[in-house]
């Protein structure tokens, strides 16, 4: 699916990377521990997380991910968004919690 479609499934807001919304993504990883992302993620292009700090963006960048979704109504600050912009990563924010966010995406064909 495209990031635009993913955003619609999650009723998410786009916080940065509007111009990249038509990028295709095939799998996602949901986690609050960046250590686990680094150790267990493979080629997932989307990171769903409830953690907010600059290392979320840096971790996604190290893993060559295309999109970060902040769940549970969390909003990153400007500094975090600036980092994401620099890395060419789309940032979305949804009011849904982790379980429902992942569930909706998985049901609609986004793999783990």
């Amino acid at each position: 699916m495209t990031i635009r479609t993913l955003k619609e499934y999650l009723d998410a807001d786009v916080l940065c990377g509007e111009e990249e919304l038509d990028r295709e993504v095939h799998s996602a990883f949901g986690c609050d521990m960046m250590s686990d992302v680094l150790a267990y993620a493979k080629d997932q292009a989307v990171l769903l997380t409830g953690l907010i700090n600059p290392q979320v963006v840096r971790t996604a960048e190290m893993m060559d991910m295309a999109c970060i979704v902040f769940v549970r109504s969390k909003r990153p600050n400007e500094a975090i968004l600036t980092l994401a912009e620099g890395a060419g990563i789309v940032v979305l924010a949804t009011n849904l919690r982790m379980y429902e966010s992942c569930g909706r995406l998985f049901m609609n064909g986004l793999q783990g």
């Binding site: 250590s35 600059p54 290392q55 960048e61 190290m62 893993m63 060559d64 890395a87």
Partner: protein
């Protein structure tokens, strides 16, 4: 033989907000050099784990990345507490990280094993109360 390309960074141990900056910069530079993306990914994950370790366990240090003809070396050196038992520290899940570090998203005890997995060669030289130097080599 051309001169190897060297990147040097001071890694600040007092500012978690900036932790990972050196690895991000290296990744951008290696991309510009046009290296294969798999090599860059392996290297950047390994370096990032090591850089985070220097910040959370050792009060910061220095990072040097040396890009040669056939391999890239990453040297992470700190003057932290040292690692009392390297064999134990290398085990998956072993961590001395505090709850505060967990709340920042790190400290699952997977960093050193991950560094070993993503590098082709890794050595740890550590002395109690003197510091730790981790060297990783990745072949091109």
């Amino acid at each position: 033989m051309p001169e190897p390309l060297v990147f040097h960074f001071d890694v600040d141990g007092n500012d978690f907000t900036s932790a990972g900056t050196a690895s991000v910069t290296v990744k951008k530079n290696l991309r510009q050099l046009g290296l294969p993306s798999e090599v860059i990914k392996k290297l950047s994950i390994a370096m990032y784990e090591g850089e985070i370790n220097m910040v959370i366990h050792a009060d910061g240090g220095t990072a040097d990345v040396i890009v040669g003809e056939s391999y890239i070396d990453i040297i992470l050196a700190d003057h932290g507490p040292g690692i009392p038992n390297v064999e134990l520290a290398m085990q998956e899940g072993y961590s001395t990280a505090t709850a505060q570090i967990h709340s920042l998203g790190f400290g699952a005890g997977m960093g050193l094993p991950n560094m070993k997995r993503y590098s082709d060669e890794m050595t740890i030289d550590t002395r109690l109360n003197e510091g730790t130097t981790v060297k990783m080599r990745i072949y091109l």
